[in-house]
């Protein structure tokens, strides 16, 4: 079709966690600029299946930018060249006819490659399990307005809660640090009255788990926030530092 693009792809292929991986070159001749990046991969995979080859494994689910499943390190940036979007919302019009696109999985000690572009992000789940929740007795939900919450606190908590846990922050960080993710999860609860009961133990346990998973420390380069599809603010990392240091020096947990 007129206006369609020819693209060269260099895609990381790795059959399992322990296998050595490498780049494979692919050519696509008829890519619509209106396709999403993942749809372009669907086309590639159909082509590979027709050729009797193994399709490229990649993570995806909602394809509307809210589930946090898609990943892909595209031309040296997580989720590709645009700011504030996930790979599923990146469209081929962001590339030019004749481009070569290099696609790699997230690279981090804590995110081992499962296959091709799919990485194991269970480390995030274990950090959440360590304290990223509120313990409440079940029963009828309270009236929505029974707890007064300042507008600013509600806004900041909401902005932190926008984190979809995709791991782009870890992928972008030169230290593969998970501080933006963990700080968003600590912040969304620390800012609200419901989060107060477990506030210090949460900060202590989530940071301890983050360290145990082998994520790096923070150099405050700001790469995480710049690449975050939900544009989570660095203020959350400062808040986590306050929460953690404050908890460590004042909590009753010895």
């Amino acid at each position: 079709m007129e206006g369609n693009m020819r693209l060269s792809l260099k895609v990381w292929r790795q059959s399992n966690t322990d296998a050595a991986g490498g780049f494979e070159d692919y050519k696509l001749d008829n890519v619509s600029p209106d396709m999403s990046f993942l749809e372009m991969f669907d086309v590639l995979n159909e082509q590979l299946i027709e050729e009797g080859k193994e399709p490229v494994a990649f993570d995806h689910d909602c394809r509307e930018g809210i589930c946090g499943m898609c990943s892909m390190y595209i031309n040296g940036r997580p989720h590709g060249p645009l700011r504030g979007v996930t790979t599923c919302q990146l469209h081929m019009r962001s590339f030019k006819d004749g481009d070569t696109i290099v696609v790699e999985p997230w690279r981090a000690q804590a995110f081992p490659v499962i296959k091709d572009l799919v990485v194991d992000r269970d480390a995030f789940d274990r950090v959440i399990s360590a304290g990223g929740f509120v313990s409440v007795n079940t029963g009828n939900a309270q009236d929505a307005n029974s707890l007064p919450i300042a507008k600013e606190a509600a806004d900041d908590a909401f902005a932190a809660a926008a984190c979809i846990g995709c791991g782009a922050c870890v992928a972008a960080c030169k230290n593969a640090s998970a501080m933006l993710f963990v700080s968003a999860k600590i912040s969304q609860l620390a800012l609200l009255p419901q989060g107060q009961a477990e506030r210090s133990i949460r900060a202590e346990k989530m940071v301890a788990q983050m360290d145990a998973e082998g994520f790096g420390a923070c150099t405050n380069t700001g790469a995480c926030s710049a690449e975050c599809p939900k544009e989570i603010s660095l203020e959350n990392i400062a808040r986590m530092n306050r929460e953690y240091i404050g908890a460590k020096f004042s909590s009753s947990a010895v």
Partner: protein
């Protein structure tokens, strides 16, 4: 491990130590630059030597100097430990990495800049601080630091090393000053502008002031 050492060896605790020692070393730079700038009186080193003598002999300053050495050591050792653990966090590197799209090169190069500064520090202390303190220890007498400066900075290679040290200091401070506040959790809309302004101004003024010292002596402006 006690809660205290657990805290200081955690990822956030290591950054807390880097920030506290970094700001302490910044406060040292203020004193160091101010006293050394006395050479610009161009009075044959009279004012400089007066304050140099005070700094070298005052018991409170000498006690604080132990803290200064400790501050340097903690900042260096902690920095190396962070460099190691941060490197281990990504064993397989990216084939293509466009880091320039999301961060500044100098914020990503604090370890490299710090290493250059460490090399400079070894050269610099072996020029002045170590011989002077060894002589004080051995004979109880201070060396004539002003005369030593005039002699040391006749060598253009030494002057170049000092200027390069100041360039490394500029980039290290440009990120480090602001980064320290973020690590301490001090990120607030009311103060961020001031921190950024003071940080940038400090990073420019102090290295230029330091660099002017060997240059002025080499060019004979200060005698």
């Amino acid at each position: 491990m006690s809660w205290f050492s657990q805290t200081l060896t955690s990822s956030i605790g290591k950054k807390l130590l880097m920030a506290l020692t970094g700001l302490f070393l910044i406060s040292f730079l203020v004193i160091h630059a101010t006293i050394n700038a006395m050479i610009f009186y161009n009075d044959g080193g009279e004012t400089f030597s007066h304050w140099g003598h005070f700094m070298g002999t005052n018991p409170i300053i000498r006690t604080l100097e132990i803290g200064l050495v400790a501050g340097f050591l903690i900042h260096i050792i902690d920095g190396l430990m962070l460099w190691k653990s941060n490197r281990d966090a990504r064993p397989v590197k990216y084939a293509v990495n466009n880091a320039a799209a999301n961060s500044t090169w100098y914020s990503r190069s604090m370890g490299l800049l710090g290493t250059l500064l460490l090399i400079f520090l070894v050269i610099h202390t072996s020029h002045f601080w170590i011989p002077n303190r060894s002589n004080q220890f051995a004979t109880g007498e201070e060396l004539n630091l002003y005369q030593m400066m005039l002699e040391t900075f006749q060598n253009p290679v030494v002057v170049l090393i000092y200027v390069l040290g100041c360039v490394s200091l500029f980039w290290h401070l440009l990120h480090g000053f602001k980064s320290a506040f973020q690590s301490l959790g001090l990120n607030h809309v009311k103060y961020n502008g001031a921190i950024s302004f003071v940080g940038t101004a400090f990073s420019i003024i102090v290295p230029i002031l330091f660099a002017l010292m060997p240059i002025s002596i080499y060019l004979g402006w200060v005698k």
